[in-house]
Amino acid sequence: MEAIKKHIHRIPYRTYIVVWLVLLALTAILVLASELFHEALAVWAMLVLTPIKAGLVFFFFMHLKYEKTTLKALVFMTLGLLVMVIALFFLDISYR
């Protein structure tokens, strides 16, 4: 019974609406940053804000926040692997 109750984890409608508003606000900041700031600053805004936006979708819309540790670990391992491969690629091309 406990497992079934856990499965039907009800997230309030309001939470989703707040997350959506934050996502829209972050998008607005990102667009403004690319218009107004220097390129270096705009790139930093992108590198910081884009993963935050993706994280909000993963954690709230995709309920990752309420999932078991095993599933969370699998997601982080996949993303970690991708980040490592990207890092290795950049190590490779920057020392050619």
């Binding site: 406990e2 079934i4 667009v31 884009t50 993963f58 991708l82 491969v85 091309i93």
Partner: protein, 210 residues
């Protein structure tokens, strides 16, 4: 887990259902999608670091307004998708059907915008192998090659999502998806949200690149 499952739960259909297994399976599929698009992002990053000025210039040829509008559309469709699942969990079928229908309409509007956007680019001659693009520098040609393949592959995912969500809508209306059995809607929602996450990365890579 060892407790008996009440009769009111999906077991009454006579079929064994493993919700945790189904969800894990969906996530495993999503991992393959992450790696698929991840590979394309690596390709983009490497070429961008080789041709920084050309990629900057390439981004200026794109219609940023449509890119931003499509971002707002997809983010909002993700909200209605999540609300549709939340509604069926509470037994509110009407709200669930309404939210899911809006999600599908948003998906279609996204593709219509994509059609308008691509038509504009192609009319300007910015399409692989057209003389206007061949006259541009090597980096700009690479930028547009990546632009069409990545946003095109993403567009195909939106199309697949629309078909998937339409099937879910039919099941929802017919009662095959209900308050006690909504796992398929939830897993379809996971797919839709991931397609949204991929777009979240495409916006700065292509449209805000200038």
């Amino acid at each position: 887990m060892s407790d008996p499952i009440p009769v009111s739960l999906p077991v009454q259909t006579g079929k064994h259902k493993d919700y945790e297994g189904a969800k894990l399976g969906m996530w495993l599929f999503l991992f393959t999608e992450i790696v698929l698009f991840g590979g394309l992002f690596i390709l983009y990053s490497v070429y961008r670091s080789v041709y920084p000025a050309d990629f900057h210039e390439g981004g200026r040829h794109l219609n940023a307004a449509i890119g931003i509008a499509n971002t707002v559309i997809l983010l909002t469709s993700s909200l209605t998708m999540a609300l549709s699942i939340a509604a069926i969990q509470r037994g509110n079928r009407k709200l669930s059907v309404g939210c899911l229908s809006v999600t599908i309409v948003f998906g279609a509007v996204f593709l219509i915008n994509k059609y308008i956007e691509w038509s504009g680019e192609i009319q300007k001659g910015f399409f692989p192998d057209l003389p206007e693009l061949l006259a541009q520098s090597h980096g700009i040609q690479l930028f547009f090659g990546l632009y069409y393949s990545v946003t095109g592959l993403h567009g195909l995912h939106i199309l697949a999502g629309i078909i998937l969500l339409t099937v879910m809508l039919i099941w929802l209306v017919r009662g095959k998806i209900s308050q006690s059995d909504f796992n398929r809607l939830e897993n379809s929602g996971l797919y839709w949200h991931l397609v949204d996450v991929i777009w979240i990365f495409l916006l700065p890579l292509f449209y805000l690149a200038a």
